[in-house]
């Protein structure tokens, strides 16, 4: 597996996140909950802690957009690319963008926001893609029940290599 060259990582364990806008596909509280649970995937196994802010800048800024959405990395309409995120760093570093030409859902019929967000936040924290089938950081989307989701070993080992284990 790989991490970004030079392995950029956050030099702090308390990170802030901000949801800049919402998809019309889901009630806001479902989006809030999916984002919160996706961050917990990583805070459950490392010393990282995430706090939501509503004003001012934050480390991880989360937004929905279509086609060109302000970062010079346009989305491609329905299907294809679902989302992308930026490795740790100032400014756009850590931010995660979701393609609102997808149909975001909480159940398995469409693209599951929790699963995609958990993957993207892996990038926001410094992980690159894994070619291990079944790993959360595998680049291709595949649905699984978010209620029973457990972070695969490959991902857990890689994120703990960056930030260490969660203090008991």
């Amino acid at each position: 597996y790989q991490t970004f060259p030079g392995t950029p990582k956050w030099k702090k364990t308390h990170l802030t996140y901000k949801i800049l806008n919402y998809t019309p596909d889901l009630p806001r509280r479902k989006v809030d909950d999916a984002i919160k649970r996706a961050l917990m995937v990583w805070s459950d196994v490392t010393p990282l802690q995430f706090r939501r802010v509503h004003m001012g800048r934050s480390d991880l800024e989360i937004k929905f957009g279509i086609r060109e959405h302000g970062d010079g990395n346009p989305f491609d309409g329905p299907g294809g690319t679902l989302a992308h995120a930026f490795k740790p760093g100032p400014g756009i570093g850590g931010d995660a963008h979701f393609d609102d030409d997808e149909k975001w859902s909480e159940v398995n019929k469409d693209i599951n926001l929790f699963l995609v967000a958990a993957h993207e936040f892996g990038h926001s924290l410094g992980l690159d893609h894994s070619n291990v089938h079944g790993a959360l950081m595998y680049p291709l989307y595949s649905y699984e029940n978010p209620e029973t989701f457990k972070l695969p070993e490959d991902d857990r080992r890689r994120i703990q290599k960056l930030y260490g284990k969660k203090p008991s």
């Binding site: 989305f75 299907g79 690319t81 679902l82 992308h84 990038h123 690159d128 893609h129 070619n131 680049p139």
Partner: protein, 76 residues
């Protein structure tokens, strides 16, 4: 002279789309690299544990059509 192998006629995915996919997810990391499209398809097939043929066979085409993350698969 040996007859140049005719480039496989590309399946329903046209060559431009394949190149766009490879440029986005398997970018050529060094200007000095001058890889053929077959070599670049092989790199992608190795990453996804496919049969490494350098050709746009059905399983490779299937991968290209799957929904995915927009970040590259090879670290710059």
């Amino acid at each position: 002279f040996p007859v140049q192998p005719k480039t496989e006629s590309w399946n329903s995915i046209d060559l431009e789309k394949v190149k766009g996919y490879l440029d986005k997810f398997f970018p050529i990391l060094a200007k000095t690299q001058n890889l053929s499209i077959e070599e670049r398809i092989k790199e992608m097939q190795r990453f996804f544990h496919l049969t490494v043929t350098g050709k746009l066979d059905t399983e490779t085409e299937g991968i290209i059509k799957m929904p995915r993350c927009g970040m590259p698969d090879v670290a710059k």
